[in-house]
């Protein structure tokens, strides 16, 4: 029915398209596993794109310092998120909601409401460029390489390190983790920082793919949570898998693409997304109860 998936180039385009969301979801998963929410990631993506366009002033060489600078801003945002949560005892849902609103405002303030510069091609390289004429797969988008690389790093961090196990423990039972000697605060800080850093990376890739616009990241925070939930992550912490979350992001985008190809309108997409969301969680809960708790 759909030639887009019938040939390798189609697959590559699809992976390229989903790259930003997949990386973002895998990073957001760190906060979810640690027992919190990060609603600020979408607005951080917007800030990354708008801020970069403001700073770049069309200079192709600026990319090399802009991306590290943006990562630095991201780290600060993640740090503030966590400090507000743990020091001011504000639930992360509210803390990151406030951060989301504020960051959107900052992005607007910075640009005066409309971005004032282009993203140079060196910046857009990551989200836009395809390596042509690759055997077997036809093209190899740089975004796909980024997805593979960051996905691997995030997988390793979550599932192959002491840190990853501590993260699970903190989300599972913070009190028990603290009494077992887990440095709860630094584990949480790093989760929020990782989430923010991946949001910046996702922003770079999305900005590369789509160019500058003022609300480029809006809605991504909920999509990221949806992807994690589809991937079986437990909200409020303690369980989650990076590969499954990336698969969740791929599934989400595939479903949307499919609905698009079937000619089903946006409203149907919403309904389907809603049903998937409830269904996935209800099923997971049922499964867990079936095996006893």
């Amino acid at each position: 029915m759909n030639p887009a998936f019938a040939e390798p180039t189609g697959y590559m385009n699809y992976l390229k398209r989903v790259g930003a969301l997949a990386i973002l979801s895998a990073g957001a998963l760190y906060v979810i596993v640690s027992g919190g929410f990060d609603l600020s990631v979408g607005s951080l993506m917007t800030l990354t794109v708008i801020g970069s366009s403001m700073l770049a002033s069309n200079d192709p060489n600026s990319t090399y310092w802009i991306i590290p600078l943006m990562l630095g801003i991201g780290a600060v945002v993640g740090l503030i998120n966590e400090l507000v949560v743990s020091n001011l005892k504000v639930p992360s849902l509210i803390a990151t909601l406030g951060m989301m609103i504020s960051l959107n405002g900052v992005a607007f303030m910075w640009s005066g409401g409309a971005p004032r510069g282009y993203l140079p091609d060196t910046f857009r390289f990551f989200g836009r460029y395809n390596i042509p004429d690759v055997p077997l797969i036809g093209i190899l988008p740089v975004a796909v390489i980024c997805l593979a690389a960051f996905g691997l790093v995030l997988w390793w961090g979550m599932h192959r390190t002491n840190y990853g196990r501590m993260l699970h423990a903190v989300g599972d039972n913070p009190q028990a983790a603290r009494l077992a000697g887990v440095p709860v605060k630094s584990v949480r800080i790093s989760a929020f920082v990782i989430s923010s850093l991946t949001a910046v990376l996702a922003g770079v890739i999305l900005g590369g793919r789509a160019g500058v616009s003022v609300d480029i990241g809006s809605g991504f925070e909920l999509q990221a949570i949806t992807a994690a939930v589809i991937g079986g992550a437990q909200l409020l912490g303690g369980r989650g898998s990076v590969p499954a979350t990336i698969a969740g992001a791929l599934a989400l985008e595939a479903i949307f693409t499919l609905l698009n190809l079937l000619g089903l309108a946006q409203p149907i997409r919403l309904v389907v997304q809603g049903l998937i969301l409830i269904g996935a969680v209800a099923f997971a809960t049922y499964q867990r109860k079936r095996v006893g708790r």
Binding site: T161, H168, D172, A176, A177, L179, G181, G238
Partner: protein, 504 residues
């Protein structure tokens, strides 16, 4: 007693994954009867009560009220049938007033609206039964009450239901002597008015004082039933099922006890005052006292979880301050918290991950697998094997294991670090008897290997059986020191403050 019992349970069987909690237990209680239900921690008493109150459904057997078979599927059904339970864990809502808690879910109504005045008056009346000394205002928030008062509110709640059957699950755990007396006279009044009372305790004193009949539960079975109150030794033997001597390992010999590991001088914080103590290598020190006496607070303070704000700590010969658990762990202290589910286990993680949690916390964060000296997967597997943790696989999630196996896995967590001082809080709560014995032996083995062991327990036989030395706490400070030859009565008197304990 004559005629149909008010409440009868026949052949109750109940299993949980990995545990058969109850096997064919039968039990009955008539009007105006106080029936003591005795048994060790983990024997199955609480499970039985939860079946009676409609929280659990039995796999087999039936519950009869006034001779009619009942099928409770919700606690409300049991309440409507006239069964009221005072649970061991408080089921009060801290943010609501005493009166609101007393009438939780059954507020008196006038014209369809809650009759606040009637509620307050009835509350005042019921609380009046405790006498003027224990005055609790109906509109106080429960959060503002101390532990003993909260226990009184729990009791008042059950009484105010005018139930046919009242179940009291260790109601005196937080009460001092005079408060206990108030409770006992209440029980007498209730008995006189024809209420059936199921009284759960392992304090022989209370059995002797109150009971008309006694049933002993051991390992999920009703092992003995008496229509009179036998001598305490008889009950204890039925509860434990073997000689105490076998059950508890040999105490330390004087030569086993070594240098001082921990010394606290004038330790204090919001819950503690004037704490002076020494813990020595090779010695198990039991800490007895009522709930809220400061035993757990002391453990938390030594462990750095809720640090001392005054006084001095010398650990391992050096002056130290532990401002968080990491400091204490790094110095060589471990702690098994009393409420495993709330503060010990990470239930969704594997048995192995639970065991390695502390090791990993002190290892390189990105270090992984066997390469790291702190995170010795093979070593943990061996340790878990050695402790005979029963699990289909060590990759099984922790929540599927029984209480005893969960506790062993946490012990393994600390053993991996070879601590100099290991603190056990209520080490055998919710654990079956076999596992209990192995925990005691484990503690002793640790002590023999030169570890100082601190054990906080509310279970006096356990304190007397497993400790080398016993410290009794009351109102945030240490009020007495005993050796293991002391009697339960000695400890109780010191704990409740009726007599200052003599230094041993």
């Amino acid at each position: 007693m004559s005629g149909t019992p008010v409440i009868e349970m026949r052949n109750i069987t109940k299993s949980f994954p990995g545990v058969k909690a109850l096997r064919g237990v039968s039990f009955a209680c008539g009007r105006g009867e106080v029936h003591a239900l005795c048994g060790e921690n983990g024997a199955g008493k609480s499970t039985l009560i939860k079946i009676l109150s409609g929280v659990y459904k039995p796999n087999e057997g039936e519950v009869l009220i006034d001779g009619n078979v009942q099928h409770f599927t919700h606690p409300q059904h049991a309440l409507l049938a006239g069964i009221s339970v005072i649970y061991q864990e408080f089921s009060l809502l801290p943010e609501r007033t005493v009166a609101q808690n007393l009438f939780l879910g059954r507020e008196p109504r006038k014209n369809g609206l809650i009759d606040n005045r009637a509620m307050v008056e009835e509350t005042r009346r019921v609380l009046g039964l405790f006498g003027v000394r224990h005055k609790i205002e109906p509109d106080t928030l429960v959060a503002d009450l101390d532990v003993a008062s909260q226990q009184m509110v729990e009791i008042a709640k059950a009484i105010s239901l005018n139930a046919k059957v009242i179940v009291m699950d260790e109601p005196t755990a937080a009460l001092n002597e005079s408060e206990c007396e108030v409770l006992f006279s209440l029980v007498d009044q209730l008995r006189a008015s024809g209420t059936a009372i199921i009284y759960i305790t392992h304090r022989m004193r209370e059995v002797t004082r109150l009971a008309d009949r006694v049933t002993v539960i051991k390992d999920g079975e009703a092992t003995a039933s008496f229509d009179h109150v036998p001598a305490p030794e008889v009950i204890v033997r039925a509860m434990v099922g073997r000689d105490i001597a076998e059950f508890y390992p040999e105490p330390a010999k004087p030569e086993d006890i070594g240098r001082t590991v921990l010394k606290v001088e004038k330790g204090s914080n919001y819950a503690l005052r004037e704490i002076d103590l020494e813990l020595r290598a090779g010695e198990i020190v039991g800490f007895a006292g009522l709930q809220g006496a400061g035993r757990t607070a002391l453990a938390m303070a030594i462990f750095g979880a809720v640090p001392f704000t005054g006084g001095a700590i010398t650990f391992d010969g050096r002056s130290r301050t532990f401002s968080n658990p990491r400091d204490a762990i790094r110095a060589g202290i471990g702690m098994l918290s009393g409420d495993r589910k709330a503060s010990g286990l990470v239930l969704m993680q594997s048995v192995r991950d639970n065991g390695m949690l502390t090791s990993r916390s002190f290892a390189n964060a990105v270090g992984s697998a066997a390469a790291n000296q702190f995170v010795d997967q093979a070593g943990m597997t061996a340790l878990l094997d050695e402790m005979r943790v029963k699990a289909p696989s060590y990759d099984q999630e922790m929540r599927f294991l029984s209480g005893g196996n969960q506790q062993k896995a946490i012990v393994a967590r600390w053993l991996a670090l070879k601590p100099k001082l290991l603190i056990f809080i209520e080490p055998t709560r919710g654990i079956d008897v076999d596992a209990k014995a192995s925990i005691y032996h484990l503690m002793r083995d640790l002590a023999r290997a030169g570890t100082a062991v601190m054990m906080v327990s509310s279970d006096l036989p356990e304190i007397l059986g497993a400790s080398d030395r016993i410290l009794v706490m009351r109102e945030g400070t240490i009020v007495g020191e005993f050796d293991r030859s002391a009697s339960e009565a000695d400890l109780m008197l010191a704990a409740t403050g009726e007599v200052e304990g003599a230094a041993a």
